[in-house]
Symmetry: C2
DNA sequence: TGGATCGATCTGTGATCACACGCAGCGGCA
DNA sequence: TGCCGCTGCGTGTGATCACAGATCGATCCA
């Protein structure tokens, strides 16, 4: 489903905890700024503290979590500055990946993208937030995988993990976020057509537009809810 | 000295081990492909296994190490494909950082860069490899820090950690690598002048040239020593 | 004498225990 | 009655122990 950063052949407990937390972050079940403790997570997943610690350490290294000084672990809070930076880097890297992908276009890729975009469109109106986000992510990563550059894919994956929690939380909170995703599917269509004719510039242009629109909307939402403290339940 | 990715206020043992391993990687004391065990490292640094495991987990998450299936940890071996990918991404990100830095130029920055470039030049002829690499890295990161973008800096830092071990090892192994660094100092001079007149294009151009020359040389070295097995002593 | 098999050892992984420390809540003192 | 200090408690961190499995070497048999 999602791309794995450092795959381990045998499925270990630490790996399972890591994926669980990662999924929770991507689906917005762990919101920006939320804190958690090692012991609570260990109890929640039914293991000892050790695998949890290693999983948290990985997520910290990937920039998805931070460790407050002598305090518990928490999801990195999103700030306007951070959003600007993330968007800037993402535009560069994802644009590069999309350009590379145009050299590896085949019929199956176009069909997959078309199908995923349709799935996303159909999930918007009923506001099935999880499905929208999943289809959107799968759409983008289908392109990035087609770039056939593991290093690049890994970095992009890391950046999505950093902005994912906030994005997911935002989609849940605001009904008008649907408008952004609806317009996203239109841009996606333009992207697919550019991809079909292997138009690197066109693909990059559509992708950039997609990202910057989302970022612009996120920024408005972010400044509107800037100081609102969040305290969600620890669900894992 | 070097930029830290995820700083923790209180210096913990795990943090110390992490920095030690990181330094060993950057200085080439741990060469590409070398394997290590948790217990051996723990003995070497005089601690228990636990801090070592967490430090290794971090480095794996950062893409500096990998874990062979059911085997020990090892430094990711450099391959031609990997080198091409890393260079491509680095050109994009470091170029972006350098462009951003041109908007934050001041007299101190120019002086620092000039000094570091001189230090590097003076360390080449006596082949003080460590000093050359340190000055070179400090030169580059002085620029990247001036971009004032933590996210960008963090990613660049990660990429240097991935290519550092191989670079350091190469400089040690080949005397003619000095020629590359000597030419590098010339390009650095051009870069400094472009930086002084806030010429973003000029800075990016010089930087790209610097990186691609090094990559080209590395590629020759890599294909020449492709299948040579390395087995260095575990020094930590 | 050569090859196959068995076992000892080493390795990563997970669990449990011990400890220092920060924080909050309660009680004592002025 | 209000303020200050102390003491549990929870928390992250590190050490130690237990276990499964893979690897490599030695020994034994044909």
């Amino acid at each position: 489903m999602t791309t794995s950063i450092t795959a381990v052949d045998v499925t270990t407990v630490q790996e399972r905890v890591y994926r669980e937390l990662r999924g929770a972050l991507q689906q917005g079940r762990l919101v920006s700024g939320q804190s958690m403790t090692v012991r609570a997570l260990a109890r929640a997943v039914g293991t000892s503290e050790m695998p949890v610690r290693e999983a948290l350490r990985r997520l910290i290294a990937e920039g998805a979590l931070i460790q407050a000084p002598n305090r518990s672990f928490q999801v990195i809070p999103m700030t306007p500055d951070r959003l600007v930076e993330l968007t800037r880097v993402r535009v560069a890297l994802e644009g590069m990946a999309a350009r590379l992908a145009t050299t590896n276009v085949d019929q199956e890729l176009i069909e997959t993208l078309t199908r995923l975009n349709a799935e996303m469109r159909e999930a918007i109106e009923p506001t099935r937030a999880d499905d929208v986000l999943r289809a959107n992510q799968e759409f983008h990563f289908t392109i990035y995988r087609a770039a056939k550059s593991p290093q690049l894919l890994e970095l992009i994956d890391m950046l999505w993990l950093r902005s994912g929690p906030y994005l997911a939380d935002m989609l849940r909170g605001r009904m008008d976020a649907r408008e952004i995703f609806r317009r996203g599917t239109v841009v996606h269509g333009r992207l697919i057509r550019a991809m079909a004719r292997q138009d690197a510039d066109g693909v990059a242009r559509a992708l950039t537009l997609d990202m910057e629109r989302t970022a612009e909307f996120s920024m408005k939402h972010l400044t509107a809810t800037a100081t609102r403290p969040r305290r969600a339940a620890i669900a894992a």
